[in-house]
């Protein structure tokens, strides 16, 4: 049980800086997810914490101890690897017991812990098998089991579900969340999958190009993205962005995209007052665009029209890929809304959920 702290951490490979000034505090027993596109530095951040990668500059603390020069085995961590990294010549039992044997744990204690973990992961029938004879899901559970038996202060998971098929991934996701609740240990989990991040994390750290973009709860990340990158990364399909100008007319604010004008709700005016007359990026999520007749009640509707280019019918909803003059727009609409490709459709957006970003800094205007 321990907190984890990144303090001004940099990682450079020669000339290339892959992590820039990472500052992050992970509380004890917290489940934090590092998420970002590939190459964003999320795995490197985790590997530095594990001691598998040197820290170029700054400090990493586990609990109150600076671990920069502590070898991995003395960091009191356990890690689940993307490839699982099971020892192929050992049985499932020995794979799980290996770390304990190295630590000279008494034999009956090892046996108790391994059997307990195997029990909870449903691995008892496979204890005598070699990893080769296991399915992907079973291997993944062995990798988790190997981490559990160590009873570490911090669990590190590096994309542990990315080698599973979609269906198994959903189950495994829930299992890991349950595991976290049961073990009450600090979890740090790396993924490129925003669904995993949103469903599992207490807090999510979004990284991009080695820079931490935002750390927040899943709800805040979705509702109050700090910048254009986070707004575009979280949510699927991505948020729609329009290069716009914020104009004021007769005490009312409008967002002018060049194709259409959206009236800014009066209660949001105070937020944007400083940016009147400036270039801004207007953002609206596909799920905040509705068919006029099928829109939920109590939304602040602003009408606009667009031409349908592609329709993806998913059953419970349809995704419309459209253009409005020079911009393209995606909308998630009710499946009862019948349109065909090429149609000019009138839609409404719920501008209560609109986002505005500074054109220069890409930061959210709050």
């Amino acid at each position: 049980m321990a907190s984890v702290t990144y303090r001004n951490v940099y990682k450079r490979f020669g000339e290339i800086t892959v992590i820039t000034d990472l500052n992050l505090e992970v509380a004890d027993k917290e489940f934090v997810v590092f998420v970002g596109p590939s190459g964003c530095g999320k795995s490197t951040s985790l590997r530095m914490l594990a001691g598998l990668e040197e820290i170029t500059e700054g400090e990493i603390l586990i609990g109150d101890r600076v671990v920069n020069d502590v070898p991995p085995k003395d960091r009191d961590i356990a890690m689940v690897f993307q490839s699982y990294a099971l020892y192929p010549h050992m049985t499932v039992y020995d794979n799980m017991a290996f770390g304990l044997k190295l630590r000279k744990t008494p034999k009956d204690e090892i046996d108790r812990r391994v059997r307990e973990a195997a029990e909870s992961l449903g691995l008892v029938p496979f204890l005598d098998r070699k990893p080769k004879a296991l399915s992907g899901g079973q291997r993944q559970r062995v990798a988790v089991g190997r981490a559990i038996v160590r009873e570490p202060a911090v669990f590190l998971m590096d994309e542990p579900l990315s080698n599973l098929d979609a269906k198994l991934r959903v189950t495994a996701r829930a299992e890991i969340s349950q595991l976290h609740q049961r073990l009450e240990t600090t979890f740090i989990y790396v993924t490129h999958d925003q669904v995993e991040a949103m469903t599992m994390g207490d807090r999510i750290a979004v990284l991009h190009d080695g820079v931490l973009q935002q750390v927040d709860s899943p709800r805040n990340l979705y509702n109050l993205p700090a910048n254009v990158f986070v707004a575009g990364f979280i949510g699927s399909p991505s948020m729609n962005f329009f290069d716009s100008t914020l104009v004021a007319e007769d005490g009312t604010y409008y967002v002018d995209t060049g194709d259409f004008r959206i009236k800014v709700p009066d209660d949001l005016k105070s937020r944007f007052a400083d940016n009147v007359g400036k270039e801004v990026i207007f953002g609206i999520r596909p799920e905040d665009i509705h068919a006029p007749d099928l829109a939920p009640p109590n939304i602040t509707a602003a009408p606009f029209s667009a031409t349908v280019e592609v329709i993806e019918l998913l059953g419970h909803e349809s995704h419309l890929f459209m253009t409005t003059g020079k911009n393209s727009v995606v909308a998630i609409v009710d499946n009862r809304f019948i349109v065909s490709v090429g149609n000019q459709v009138d839609l409404v957006m719920n501008v209560a959920n609109m986002h505005l970003f500074d054109k220069q800094t890409n930061l959210a205007i709050r």
């Binding site: 594990a50 001691g51 598998l52 070898p71 991995p72 085995k73 961590i77 356990a78 890690m79 690897f81 993307q82 490839s83 990294a85 099971l86 020892y87 192929p88 010549h89 050992m90 290996f98 770390g99 190295l102 630590r103 190997r146 160590r150």
Partner: protein, 374 residues
């Protein structure tokens, strides 16, 4: 027979079908005959021609490569004319058949003949039963050869494997990997006879009164010792064999190093990282994760060198000719067959050598199969 569509068949009259049948038989017989005639003509030309050398060379290449292609093509064509069931059954043999035939001719038949010879006397006249075999296991020189071969197997293979593994491991972590590996690998390119000459210089011994030109004795003398005749040092029999075994280790360590090096590089790095996180020291990772991971390669290399040392001949023949208690099975075989002209006894030794190799060979092949090498 040519396959004709059912619809076409109905349109054809009896006469037309008969002609089609005759022509397909004609094709099936005539084309192979022409092919054989052409190939035979090529053979006669190569045998009797007085044409310039380069013409003969060119014809030989075209005749050899083209002839094989034509043979395959003709046989394949013949088989494909058969009903589909028979085509499937016979087609593999068209392609494997020639190779199998050559194997039988060059391997199986000589083996059988050697066995037959081993049951006969020195001139292959009188049948002597197992007398040659009982002689093998009772003669003093043969027992010496068996003992020495055992030493070769044990020390030769073990040292080659250990040394190769050591170099592969150390080089893997060194900046000088390429240079060091090249130097270790270099002896592989030297023939056994060449190696024998080189090591003869290293072991060279001169009378105490003159300067030593042998490297080893020069060192011994410089350190205040007396020069030793090394492999001819009969006081330490059988350990003088080690001076010969070293040569093969020197030659084979490169081979084992290359294979081990490749195997070590093939270990996924996440496996070592998992070990590190699990609490293993680098030495524990080496012995408990890396070595077990490349176990298959170790066994393969080890058995390959065991087979090799079982058959060892050249080094011993060049260095000592089997004197000073360094006789091995293969040198005995050579001496009996080609010096003493005792074909029965020599053949019996060859058969014993073959029998000794087979179990190792089977184990080796099984290991290959486990690694899915084939």
């Amino acid at each position: 027979m040519a396959h004709v569509d059912a619809s076409e068949k109905q349109e054809m009259g009896v006469g037309a079908r008969f002609i089609a049948f005759i022509s397909s038989v004609f094709l099936a017989v005539i084309i192979p005959l022409i092919a054989f005639a052409v190939i035979y003509a090529g053979f006669i030309f190569l045998r009797d021609s007085n044409a310039p050398k380069w013409v003969i060379t060119l014809v030989a290449i075209v005749w050899g490569v083209g002839g094989i292609a034509v043979l395959y093509w003709v046989f394949n064509g013949l088989v494909e004319r058969l009903p589909p069931a028979w085509t499937a059954r016979l087609q593999p043999f068209v392609f494997v058949g020639p190779a199998l035939a050559i194997l039988v001719w060059y391997l199986a038949l000589p083996t059988a003949r050697t066995f037959w010879l081993s049951l006969h006397d020195r001139n292959a006249d009188a049948f002597v039963g197992l007398a040659n075999y009982s002689a093998i296991f009772t003669e003093r020189v043969m027992r010496e050869a068996f003992r020495n071969n055992l030493m070769w197997i044990i020390f030769g293979s073990t040292f080659s494997v250990l040394f190769g593994l050591l170099v592969a491991t150390l080089a893997d972590r060194s900046r000088w990997e390429r240079v060091s590996k090249t130097f270790i690998f270099l002896p592989m390119a030297i023939s056994f006879v060449g190696a024998g000459v080189i090591w003869n210089f290293i072991y060279e011994v001169r009378p105490v009164t003159v300067p030593q030109i042998g490297l080893l004795n020069a060192i011994v003398v410089a350190l205040g010792g007396t020069p030793k005749p090394w492999y001819a040092w009969t006081d330490i029999i059988p350990w003088n064999n080690l001076f010969l075994i070293v040569i093969v280790v020197w030659l084979q360590a490169g081979f084992s190093m290359v294979l081990f090096s490749a195997a070590l590089k093939g270990i996924p790095s996440e496996l070592m990282e998992a070990g590190r996180v699990d609490g293993a020291s680098e030495i524990q990772i080496y012995f408990r994760i890396m070595l077990p991971y490349i176990r298959g390669t170790i066994i393969t290399v080890w058995t390959t060198i065991v087979i090799f040392t079982l058959k060892i001949f050249d080094v011993v023949w060049v260095m000592t000719g089997g004197q000073f208690g360094t006789e091995v099975i293969a040198t005995q075989f050579f001496r009996q067959s080609f010096v003493a002209r005792n074909s029965g006894f020599g053949s019996a030794i060859a058969i014993i050598l073959l029998l000794a190799v087979i179990p190792v060979m089977i184990y080796n092949l099984r290991q290959f199969r486990e690694q899915e090498a084939f």
